[in-house]
Symmetry: C3
Subunit: 204 residues, 3 copies
């Protein structure tokens, strides 16, 4: 089996998402069941919600052996080498941004394939990229990072909008549009992380 | 486009549900992503769970542009004019009761259309009307209002039961039955709010 | 209607799961809506998630009148006789282990019927048996017992693995394989409860 470049990126992203789930499980002192469950839920939760919403069942992760192997590997590596993994925050952030970008594009493509309206396709991109982390936080009993900190969903929306509009209204080849959109999401995410940009919090 | 009276009521209810989600987001000091997400989840969460349970996908809200516009408008208005919106509690309670009633009827109709047993149809009415608020509370990390306070689901069950039984066992026209059921739900909800009626809490 | 032995066991398990949901509702001082909702969600939550993931809709519980009656009975009995029910912990643990075992087998069978890979079928068994309790804890705002304490999912995985492998690779009759797997799950669960075996908790 020869992985394409895009599949490789997606796998890297899946790995990073699973590590973030594993990290949450370790921080909560869960056991091995919690470790594996939370790694999976974080990595495939967003895509699962997307598939359920559009009726694409059995949901995608169930037949994606490679992705499932990456998730289990991520969980075990995170648990065994946690003190090292913690030091790799910067690298994991890059991987995570790649995952956010790739998952956004996958989500949009699935929405377009089902013929859903453009804004809904963009929403499906965000759901695919960001709602696994939302599930992770809700299950752990933490306030959702997605709703309170950092430019995360916004990066997905920005790149997703470019992807859909450029794909729809320009003649640029779909490969080029995809690459640009991925780059935009990764760039917005990492730059905003670096400078600690955040949206203002709402006040009552 | 000319909205029917029922569609207008449904839109008013959707607006109120979204405002309740937005209010929760503001009270939690979420950012704009949290504001929009929680407004949507509260407004369309119940109908989404219903659609998933019966297999009606893509779920309804994805193609309901008008409803989605109302939700975004509600979120923005709630965020910009929060100090005013807070003072409109009584009006919003009326809107919310209308939403509960209309969503209950929609949920039951969908269950009947799929040929489900009567008690399950009534349950689908309650899920449609009340489980968006349950999702809101669980995501925010709050104890579910639905389970602890006020006559809310019970109003939906009472009106829903009348709707199903009268529609099934009497010759009264379906429009009349529907109007009566809606009125019953709104009345039970608002009267119990006014007099602060609550179910007894369970004690171990 | 004549129940088979397996159906009777499944009903006993459903009853125990519902009691555990009702107990959580009573401990949280929910009202009757919370009592019924949480009893249902705990008892049918795992099977519902499984059915959604594989696209088996309307989900199974909606047309399982007997199971729904058992859930309502369990909720009412738990609420009315809570001081007695609390004393029956040991009996309820046996019932619960039976439920875990039967639900595991049902989940695996459904996965096999849809043609999913073996590890995914085992995962569907665990989801069917254990994720109703996960939903219960998340909705109540408690840390998931499934992730932190006791040998529960692990019993399901062990018995489920035997069930799938023996059914696939040996000539033993499916009835015998099923009985052995159920016995293994119940035994692992009850013995580990008795000796208070737990997985080590992860530490960061």
């Amino acid at each position: 089996m020869q992985l394409t470049f895009v599949q490789t990126l997606e796998l890297i992203g899946t790995f990073a998402f699973a590590v973030s789930g594993a990290t949450a499980a370790i921080n909560k002192s869960y056991d091995i069941i919690g470790l594996l469950s939370l790694s999976f839920i974080t990595a495939i939760g967003g895509g699962t919600i997307r598939d359920l919403l559009i009726g694409a069942t059995p949901v995608a992760w169930m037949t994606n052996e490679l992705s499932n192997t990456a998730i289990i590997a991520a969980a075990i590596i995170a648990a065994l080498f946690f003190s090292y993994v913690k030091k790799l925050t910067r690298l994991l952030n890059i991987f995570d941004a790649i995952g956010l970008a790739l998952f956004t594009i996958t989500g949009i493509n699935k929405g377009v394939a089902v013929g859903l309206p453009i804004p809904i396709c963009i929403a499906l991109g965000v759901i695919t990229g960001a709602f696994g982390g939302l599930l992770r936080d809700v299950i752990c009993g933490e306030q959702p990072i997605l709703f309170t900190r950092e430019i995360y969903a916004a990066a997905s929306i920005a790149g997703g909008t470019i992807y859909v509009l450029a794909g729809h209204y320009t003649g640029i080849s779909s490969d080029v549009v995809q690459s640009i959109s991925i780059a935009v999401i990764v760039a917005i995410r990492l730059v905003s992380l670096h400078y600690n940009w955040q949206f203002p919090r709402l006040r009552g």
